[in-house]
């Protein structure tokens, strides 16, 4: 039995499965290097002279760089804020007996479980009434809220794993709570911070619906640009879709390679931990 598992055939089958799943993604990346006629050719073109023309065209569009910058700024600042805020809250929930803390955690997690289309209607009405549409901070803070539930759950999980002794030793040595939180506990939950940062970045980077509805010229991110600018006169601009798609999907895939061990905790909102 053992010998059977180790056989190269087993590994080849696994690699094939992985490649089959990756194929549609690869197809997008390959398409980005094709000319328009090659991209739309039937039968599909497998061997072609790669061209960078689509990317050059993309970089010269007036919307590309502002949008790229928006995506980067909005995701980094919103996730940064969310992590600071939820780190403090996670410490409180992990170390103190707070009345109704289970209920607070339940409510906060349920935010992430509601269909986006249900949340976006009231948020849209609120933003329209307050004049918050299409401005940087309301957009960023909305995404910070969007990232809090997951960060809070993941950080609380990691903090529960840090022994109370550390806090007690610190207090006995007359250290302030502030010192304990940031100098004693923080270094020990670093994996949690990394996981929260990486996966929230991916979620915000990917988010489309809220940006599409609440955003505008000043706050457009890549998924929204991909949808709104894909239609040109006379049909869909496929070379644009392919080249922007390729640029947009590379960061998450690279992150997935380097932070693979956090994928499970990331995809289950910090509730399930284990080895894969």
């Amino acid at each position: 039995m053992k010998r059977g598992w180790k056989s190269p055939i087993y590994y080849i089958v696994l690699w094939l499965v992985a490649l089959i799943y990756f194929f549609p993604v690869l197809w997008i990346i390959l398409s980005a290097f094709k000319t328009k006629s090659e991209l739309l050719a039937t039968p599909p073109v497998w061997i072609f002279q790669p061209t960078l023309e689509n990317f050059i065209d993309l970089f010269q569009r007036e919307h590309f760089w502002p949008t790229f910058l928006n995506s980067l700024l909005i995701s980094v600042s919103s996730v940064g804020i969310a992590i600071v805020v939820s780190f403090l809250a996670a410490y409180a929930l992990s170390r103190y007996k707070i009345y109704g803390s289970d209920f607070i955690q339940f409510l906060i997690l349920s935010i992430r479980m509601v269909p986006g289309a249900a949340v976006v209607v009231p948020v849209y009405l609120m933003y329209a009434a307050l004049g918050w549409k299409d401005s940087f901070w309301p957009m960023t803070l909305f995404y910070a809220m969007f990232s809090i539930p997951f960060s809070l759950w993941i950080l609380k999980g990691f903090m529960d794993g840090v022994s109370l002794r550390f806090d007690e030793t610190g207090l006995a040595n007359n250290a302030s709570r502030f010192h304990i939180i940031f100098k004693v506990i923080l270094p020990q939950v670093k994996p949690g911070l990394i996981a929260a940062f990486v996966f929230n970045m991916i979620f915000v980077w990917n988010e489309f619906l809220f940006n599409f509805i609440l955003g505008g010229k000043q706050t457009t991110t890549i998924p929204t640009l991909l949808v709104s600018d894909s239609i040109q006169q006379g049909g869909v601009d496929w070379t644009f879709v392919a080249s922007l798609g390729a640029i947009y999907l590379l960061p998450p895939v690279i992150a997935l390679y380097f932070f693979q061990k956090y994928l499970l905790v990331g995809m289950t909102f910090g509730t399930v931990r284990g080895e894969v």
């Binding site: 087993y10 590994y11 089958v13 696994l14 499965v17 992985a18 799943y21 990756f22 549609p24 993604v25 197809w27 039937t42 599909p44 600071v84 403090l88 809250a89 409180a92 103190y96 707070i98 607070i104 339940f106 349920s110 935010i111 479980m113 509601v114 269909p115 986006g116 289309a117 949340v119 209607v121 009231p122 009405l125 609120m126 803070l141 910070a144 809220m145 809090i148 809070l152 302030s176 709570r177 991916i202 990917n206 988010e207 489309f208 619906l209 991909l226 949808v227 879709v241 798609g245 947009y248 999907l249 998450p252 895939v253 997935l256 390679y257 995809m267 289950t268 509730t271 399930v272 284990g274």
Partner: protein
């Protein structure tokens, strides 16, 4: 400083920023939404909202479109969750013994990549793949059947095409969950089963399943919640068409709110989906606590 830190309110002070976020972006919109659901408020009429009491909710009772969208959503959930669990479980078991595979990390990155891409982009690009003239699926369909078939434009096919994309995107998630579940089985018990020469079926039933079932259940519920939420993918792929055959509840809310601009009516539907989502979350946490309690007992 010390006095603040020793005060009973200190933990609440730490929680305060989170609670402020929660209040501004959840409590306020929530009340706005519940309130609005008692009004007839159409942005395109240019009239102020008119209080109609429970009229919106009474309308849901015999609104055929809404019930069709609901039943479509549950059909979608059933197929999507069922198929991803089936394929994900099988592939998870297949990948179980792959720890020493050459290039495992890269292979898993490739395998897991579909689930971390934005559905909006996948939806857009899948439209090209399904295109009867230019798409790769269109090409193979012509090659094998000799006929061209417009998957996304044909009633009956569009829904299946949508499920196929969703299953492709989310099977990796169930592979991940299955691998985690299998990893939670203690190695000692597996070795004992091997020494005792238990049959594969008995090993699965009495050794693996008792440990693995919690994580599997959590995975299935998360998948259910996610399938219930589906909006971006459908919107980009079919816009709810053809003939409304792929209009799930998320897309319906979107269209009623931002195409038809009937905010009051849509708010009521949003309230109903919100309650459904909270119920799912409660089940999820119940199972999570069950798992914790079991661990404590051991």
């Amino acid at each position: 400083m010390r006095r603040i830190e020793n005060s009973r309110l200190y933990p609440w002070l730490l929680l305060l920023p989170t609670l402020i976020f929660f209040a501004i972006w959840n409590i306020v919109p929530l009340f706005w939404m519940v309130g609005m659901s008692f009004y007839n408020y159409s942005l395109n009429l240019g009239r102020p909202p008119r209080f109609v009491g429970l009229d919106n909710y009474l309308d849901y009772l015999d609104n055929v479109d809404l019930w069709l969208a609901m039943s479509r959503t549950f059909t979608f959930v059933l197929f999507s969750v069922g198929l991803t669990t089936l394929f994900g479980g099988l592939l998870g078991v297949l990948f179980w013994r792959s720890t020493r595979m050459p290039g495992r990390r890269l292979a898993l990155t490739l395998l897991f990549s579909p689930m971390i891409l934005t559905p909006a982009a996948i939806g857009t690009f899948s439209r090209l793949n399904y295109d009867p003239t230019f798409g790769i699926f269109g090409y193979f369909t012509r090659l094998f059947t000799g006929q061209s078939l417009d998957y996304l434009g044909t009633e009956g096919w569009a829904f299946a095409a949508l499920i196929a994309v969703d299953v492709w995107m989310w099977t990796p998630f169930m592979v991940l969950i299955t691998l985690a579940a299998l990893g939670s089985v203690p190695a000692a018990e597996l070795e004992a089963a091997e020494v005792d020469r238990l049959s594969i079926w008995r090993r699965f039933r009495y050794v693996i399943l008792p440990h693995a079932r919690f994580i599997i259940m959590l995975g299935i519920i998360l998948r259910t919640i996610d399938a219930f939420k589906v909006t971006d993918l459908v919107y980009q792929l079919t816009r709810g068409g053809p003939g409304g055959t792929t209009e799930v509840i998320g897309v319906m809310m979107y269209r009623k709110a931002f195409d038809a601009l009937t905010m009051g009516w849509t708010s009521g539907v949003a309230v109903i989906t919100l309650l459904t989502a909270i119920a799912f979350t409660a089940i999820f946490l119940y199972i999570l606590n069950l798992q914790k309690r079991r661990r404590l007992l051991q």
